[in-house]
Amino acid sequence: MAGATEAATGAADLDLASGPLLEVSDLRVTFRGRRGTVYAVQGISFTVEPGRTLALIGESGAGKTVSARAVMGLLPESAQVTGSIRFKGEQVVGRSEHDLRDYRGRNVAMVFQNPERSLNPTMRVGTQITEALRSHLHLDRKRAHEQAVELLRMVRVPAPERRFYEYAHQLSGGMRQRIMIAMALACGPEVLIADEATTALDVTTQAQIMDLLLDLQRQTGTALLMISHDLGLAATYAEDVIVMYAGQVVERAPAKELFASVRMPYTQALLDAIPQIDREPHVLLPVVGGRPPDLSALVPGCPFAPRCPGVQQDCREQAPTLAEHEPRRWWACWHPLNRAAQ
């Protein structure tokens, strides 16, 4: 009867030595609209390894959600996607809608930010889970129902048999998010993308959901790509961290090493902006002045230059490229920092 978990743990059987699950290489996404062109993602590359947790951090508008949607193949037709996204070696970019259907939910699944708007208000939550199951696995109604209840149990929803018949508005935010997770994991995907999955929740619930995600990940061996603007969250839960700014990756490192010694002034600024309990009272929170650049124009130089406290002349002229300056540590900066994080 643990059919759901069976399907999900299938991922654990993957040989870790078989290489990355997801390989994104020079991904570029451009939107052409009435108001002009927006270069949302300007050439990013990263990999997602089986069973590991990768955090994609950045401000609103940095391009993280767009990248995640590109990986899922969920971008609208007005988006032009170039570059390469390979899942287990097979190209996702340019795949037909029909083929993408099999891929979504089965290979890669996503949990969204606003659970109250991401669930259909007129459909019972249980049905939304069985829909996920029956889209990919050929199950009859009875079996699908049983598996859905199992999934609810797996995500720690109390009284799962009863909850099956309820509607989204009858549930709390945390509960709804659990439903979303159950829906996402229903068919045992190998990669789970959590797009700001906990941003809309209160802090306690946030911790619960994150813990749940991590437990499930250990159970099922699913790789987790968590997208957030919260560097603190990344510090707590992620193994690898990628920092994005203005459509580009600016720093990348394993979490421990990143927080031990930050290189990018932008990442440092993000760290500084995290409110800390042991800070002096009535001291101005160090925020980064200015705003992220307008992505409808490609300007030369480092995108962070206008706001960087350590900016120098060469920063404005030439954009630094992302390079592996130290083993497993990548950054794109002419004048990186060498301080340890506070």
Binding site: A109, F112, A132, Y167, H169
Partner: protein, 344 residues
Amino acid sequence: MSTSVSVQPARWPGGAHARRLATSPALRVAARRLLSAIPVVWGVTLLTFLILNALPGDAASALLGINATPAEVREFSIKLHLNEPLWSRYGHWLGGALTGNLGTSLASPQSVASILGQRLPVTLELVIYALVMTLVVSVPLAVLSARRPRGIIDRLSMVGSMASISIAPYVLALLLVIVFAVHWSVFPAIGYQPVSQGLGGNLRDMTLPSIVLALPLIGFYTRFLRADLLEQMQSEDYIVTARAKGVSEWRVLTRHALRNSFIGLLTVIGLNLATLIGATVIIEQIFSLPGIGYELLQAISNRDVPVVEGIVLVFGTVVVLANLATDLLYSVFDPRIRHVRARS
């Protein structure tokens, strides 16, 4: 945390569902609306009475014709109780109406109730036939249009619906008659065959008038539904979620978006009912259908007040009931409203 019921629901909670609906606040709201609707219906009858009496002309002279002498008119008036003061006449009518007696027609010995009984089913059949036609055409059309926006079907249906809203019913009626009744004798131009004399003939006679009634509706509802579906497909998060699960685009449209659009469609139909009734008057006249619309026209020119009041009462009640039914159906289809005691 709120609990909906303390009873363990069955696998398909039919029993608990019914109980929930019966005690639901939605029903209480509906009851309240019903009560506040009564003055509206009453107001309508009063207004009609005042108008009919305020305007020149009265039943006696209308029925006797212009060649009647004043003496004859006066005598006839007394016979019809038209010499009594306004409020007394209205009071009589109202008193009668409240006890179920709608009075007798001034133009013929028939009781108003029996006239209504004869005529109402015809109009009802016309309206229902037209609505069925409309839904059968516009729902699939809207879904197909929304499936491929700007595609061939979409463009054609947009153009078609624009045209069908813009064409006048009498023009359309004439056109259809020329093509289908005169040119190719498929349907009759006028006439009506009651169901008792054969359903086939009855439907055949009602088809052209129903098409005339249905066509602008088809245009309107198709546009509405299509817009609603597209709006969901393009901007609602649960649609994105469904796609992310790997659900096919077609199923997303029909199982997610269409389901949510039904509520809106029902509202529109309910609100439209009043104009629909008005349109039947014209159509019945053109096709000589013995419905209440046709009857209304005659009654007005005869100043047959009881008949007009009876018909107006029916119209007003239908409109009010339609609005109420729409609200009730809201709660059936939209679970958010059904469970008013949901978490805040």
